[in-house]
């Protein structure tokens, strides 16, 4: 699919090379509704890679798998999305993880305050729609959940 070729390793490696050669700290490539964003951490060369994400807050794109019956966990605030409590920890919600209403699925940092975001639904995480360190807006889809 178009989405897969957009984020193939060759392209990502090219972008990283571009960043390192030119001393860039951040690069974002956008095409239609998909985007790749690579950000250099404050120390060391580029290593983290952001996955391609649909960047519109409209209805999620149709993928090969049917989206019917899937729920979306949306951001209740404006801020920066963090998948884990801190860089050393495991992400709160990986694909395949079982969550219930009270499960913490991520952190959204707003005005220097780290807010734990709860799932509010029960089910299995099928997709993570944003990347670590990404700015998110109100109602931005964060996770796709297959309800149980």
């Amino acid at each position: 699919m178009a989405k897969e070729s957009f984020t193939d390793n060759k392209r990502v490696r090219e972008l990283i090379k571009l960043m390192n050669e030119n001393g860039l700290s951040e690069i974002e490539l956008v095409e239609d509704k998909a985007s790749i964003r690579i950000k250099r951490e404050l120390t060391g060369p580029v290593s983290a890679v952001a996955a391609a994400v649909p960047h519109s807050a409209a209805a999620p794109e149709k993928s090969a798998q049917s989206d019917e019956g899937l729920l979306t966990i949306k951001s209740p605030m404006v801020g920066t999305f963090y998948a884990a409590a801190n860089p050393e920890s495991e992400p709160y919600a990986k694909v395949g993880a079982l969550v219930d209403k009270k499960s913490v699925v991520c952190i959204i940092e707003a005005m220097k305050v780290f807010n734990e975001i709860h799932a509010e639904v029960s089910g299995v995480i099928t997709k993570i729609l944003v990347s670590n360190g990404q700015a998110v807006e109100f109602n931005q889809p964060l996770f796709q959940v297959k309800p149980e």
Partner: protein, 446 residues
Amino acid sequence: MFSRILIANRGEIALRIIRACRELDVEVVAVYSEADRDAAYLKLADEAICIGLGPAGESYLNIPRIISAAEVADVQAIHPGYGFLSENAHFADVCRSCKIEFIGPSVESMKLLGSKLASKELARKCNVPLTPGSDGPVKNEKQAVEVAQKIGYPVIIKASAGGGGRGMRVAHNEISLKSSLKAAQSEAEAAFKDGTVFIEKYHDEPRHVEVQILGDKHGHVIHLFERDCSVQRRHQKIIEESPCPVIDDEIRRELCESAVRLAKEAGYYSAATVEFIMDKHKHFYFLEVNTRIQVEHPVTEMVTGEDLIQWQLRIASGEKLTLRQEDVHHSGAAIECRINAEDPDRNFAPSPGLLEEFIPPGGPGVRLDTHAYQGYRIGPNYDSMIGKLIVHRATRDAAIATMRRALEEFRAGPVKTTIPLHRQIMNDKDFQQARVDTGWLERRRK
């Protein structure tokens, strides 16, 4: 100059600010509520961030969300527009603590001039004429009666924390004074969480005349002449014009210079409007200061040729206001009609809905500031103003003729708008001869 700013507002003023930023090469970030998701003007911003649901408290009035958006978008400054948080000193203070420039005055001068009582004290100190009154809060009925006897009826009771025409009662004698006092105090407590009231002489057939001020952070303050905003409905302006058609240059000079004195004394910078009441003898009395850019700023822009929003951006970024008072001239006459989605036949009930037809006027002397377009859906969440139609011609008569012509061309529907009302006013002899006062429109419609 800033490289990137955020607009904490919506609609026509957000679009106005986007336009100013574009011309100054400043990147602009817009915020929007879910209700404004499809608004076309958002596409003109470099970035648009959804900050919450439709209700203003969840979005345009939500300080944490706006500040978060400013931080993730990495902006240097926020322009608050008018309304919403534009005169909220706490918001200006939060911006300051987050090292984001608030495009407006300092917190201190906003607090000082934002208080009706404190600003009156300042006016007295600067020899700016004041309406006789209680000169401070009215503590009890006995004091109220004494003050009213001294200054003479009719008197008006006002809420110290009030605005927008709310929390005001007129009393023509002692009996109505006593009952109005109690009512005004409870209304004020309910609406503004502050029951403090004061009393002033009530002026018969007053005109509303205001002075546009600009000041920079280096102490330089100038005026850009006056606007007459006497055509009002329920204390809301619906038509504004410049120059004031009934004053001569001497009164104009005194009026404008007194506004500058006041602003300077308050250490004011950015844009402000000093409002006055003018009685039928052409005496003017200080009313209040609006410490923000106003809806009707285009009227002044047309007669002076200055871009007030661009000046706000420059001033906020620390640039000098290079306009000397002698450089500011007014030329011709400008009139603005506020186009609201309201039904004049149903007591101006808001008329939201889809703008199936929208054919804006154009041609010489016509300026239209609007975020609306054909296919735009007017929602119920915010105020009903969908645009401002401004004309500028060499004389007032020519401006009226152009406004009449432009209103005839203007097609907007099927929602109800105030366009037909404005057409009637342009054809009205009283308006044409500038024989109006702030009560004129409501009397005329009875």
